[in-house]
């Protein structure tokens, strides 16, 4: 068979020489290699204190977006749920009442919006499917939890803070700060 690369090295079957049979030079060589690693830089990122920088295109936890006036953008069209290959998204739609114009941007909104983070594969198809720019994937990832129930994120966890009433938290969630 033709080798695909020239990197492969054949197994040497020739009997070992006396120096090789002593093993000691080889052992010392190995020990020198491990010793040299004492002085190498550690690539460890000490997690809770240090965090790995994510690229802007990282697909992490979902965020339900608000517009500039602090109204939820989601109109509960269900396109994200349809687009989701893992069927992680469920929602229940409700009609906006006349006095709720400052809460929801469209006449229809999601009364319940749940993403199962155990099912989600973070592919970002929901983000692409959304016609209202309501859902996007942030640069954080889902933290550990004690129960399976804890991984089903509802609206409280997903909604971004209101830029009107809580601008600081909003800026932080946006990654502007």
């Amino acid at each position: 068979m033709q080798a695909l690369t020239n990197r492969a090295e054949g197994v040497s079957r020739k009997p070992m020489s006396f120096m090789e049979r002593l093993y000691i030079p080889a052992i010392l060589k190995g020990m020198a290699i491990t010793f040299s690693h004492i002085f190498k830089k550690q690539p460890t990122i000490r997690y809770p204190e240090q965090k790995r920088p994510f690229s802007p295109v990282f697909r992490g936890l979902h965020v339900l977006n608000r517009d500039e006036e602090g109204r939820e953008r989601c109109t509960a069209c269900g396109l994200c749920a349809v687009a989701c290959p893992a069927e992680a998204i469920t929602m229940e739609a409700a009609e906006r009442m006349p006095n709720e114009e400052n809460l929801y941007r469209e006449e229809k909104y999601a009364a319940k919006y749940e993403i199962n983070m155990l099912r989600c594969i973070f592919c970002g198809l929901c983000e692409e499917a959304c016609p209202k720019d309501a859902i996007y994937l942030s640069e954080t990832f889902a933290p550990a939890n004690y129960t399976r129930k804890g991984f089903i994120y509802g609206k409280e966890e997903l909604l971004i803070p209101n830029p009107k009433t809580n601008p600081e938290a909003y800026a932080e969630a946006k990654g502007l700060k």
Partner: protein, 350 residues
């Protein structure tokens, strides 16, 4: 009452010495487990345990607490008495070695000359051998009493390995004994400290190499950790053990490491001798304290080498292990013994 006509001061002195030595070696063993994890981490470009206390220094206590809080499981089909006896034996045998190790010269306290050695018996090094050969029983009894095939296989491996390497160890030792003409560790150390004499490593490099390899095998350390070969025997002879009984087995390995380091330091590296320094010019108490420091430094270096080897070299296959022991180590040790004897005779004659 002849019973009370006894040197009570000596008794108290020895008891205090025993307590200090046993507890300090346990304390060192505690931190050796921590050092093992740190050394492994550093050799593998990792930070290692660093959460419990500053630099993770409280980690051994966290580990110990974890082991104690674990559920104590004794298998139904095991032999209960022997199951409990096993780890105890392993630990006792490991700790008993410290009785003959000369930790330093003597201190003078309350007008008494206190030797920093529990017992200077004239068969010192043979006593170490006797105790080491008892250590096999801890493994064998534990492995057999668990009533588990893996444990039994591991126990048999451990015991056969220990017996095989004890032979080469003894033979390599004979050369040292011929040089110093005594079995007492104190005399062997004294011989190396004397003017014009170098450490035994200068005269016995091959003997030391054999002794060191055998010490690795006796402590069940990599590359001779076949009794604990996880990938073939699950966890080895202590597979059925849990809680502090498991802790005893794991701990005994570290105590063994300290003791074999101490024995090697005494036999080949001058024990509590400080190189390029004449101890007799110092006050005896200061010399004793410096001596303890020197011996501890040597022990720490040896323990580091033990760990360094563990994180470098892969495990032997069982037949390779036996071949190395019987077909390489023993003939080498015999040749070393013959050559040493011939040189000693030639020098004495010439």
């Amino acid at each position: 009452m002849t019973l009370l006509a006894f040197d009570w001061a000596l008794l108290i002195e020895k008891l205090v010495l025993i307590a200090v030595i046993v507890f300090s070696s346990l304390g060192i063993a505690l931190y050796t487990t921590f050092a093992e994890r740190k050394v492994a981490a550093i050799l593998q470009d990792r930070p290692g345990p660093n959460r419990a206390g500053p630099f993770g220094l409280l980690q051994p206590f966290a580990d110990g607490l974890k082991l104690m809080m674990k559920e104590e499981i004794i298998p139904n089909t095991s032999n209960k008495v022997l199951f409990i006896l096993g780890p105890g034996l392993a630990m006792t045998a490991a700790l008993m070695t410290c009785a003959v190790i000369p930790w330093s010269s003597h201190v003078e306290l309350f007008d008494r000359k206190i030797e920093l050695q529990i017992a200077d018996i004239n068969i010192g090094i043979l006593y170490v051998f006797g105790v080491v050969s008892m250590g096999v029983y801890g493994i064998m009894i534990g492995g057999w009493a668990s009533n588990n095939k893996f444990s039994l296989m591991a126990a048999l491996r451990g015991a056969s390995q220990a017996i095989s390497y004890e032979l080469a160890m003894g033979l390599s030792l004979i050369a040292v004994l011929m040089l110093s003409g005594s079995l007492s560790l104190k005399t062997i150390v004294g011989e190396q400290m004397a003017d014009g004499n170098f450490w035994n490593i200068v005269y016995q490099p091959l003997g030391f190499l054999i002794f060191f390899v055998c010490a690795l095998a006796e402590c069940n350390r990599t590359p001779f950790d076949l009794p604990e070969a996880e990938n073939e025997l699950n966890f080895g002879y202590h597979q059925e053990y849990s809680s502090m009984k498991l802790g005893f087995y794991l701990f005994a390995e570290y105590v063994n490491m300290i003791m074999s380091s101490a024995v090697m330091a005494c036999l080949y590296f001058g024990g509590y001798d400080i190189p390029f320094l004449d101890e007799s010019t110092l006050a005896p108490n200061i010399a004793a304290i410096l001596g303890v420091g020197a011996l501890l430094t040597k022990i720490v270096i040896f323990i580091f080498i033990f760990m360094w080897i563990r994180w470098t070299i892969p495990r032997f296959r069982y037949d390779q292990l036996m071949n190395l022991g019987w077909k390489t180590m023993i003939p080498l040790a015999l040749a070393n013994m013959l050559i040493t004897g011939a040189v000693i005779l030639w020098r004495a004659g010439g």
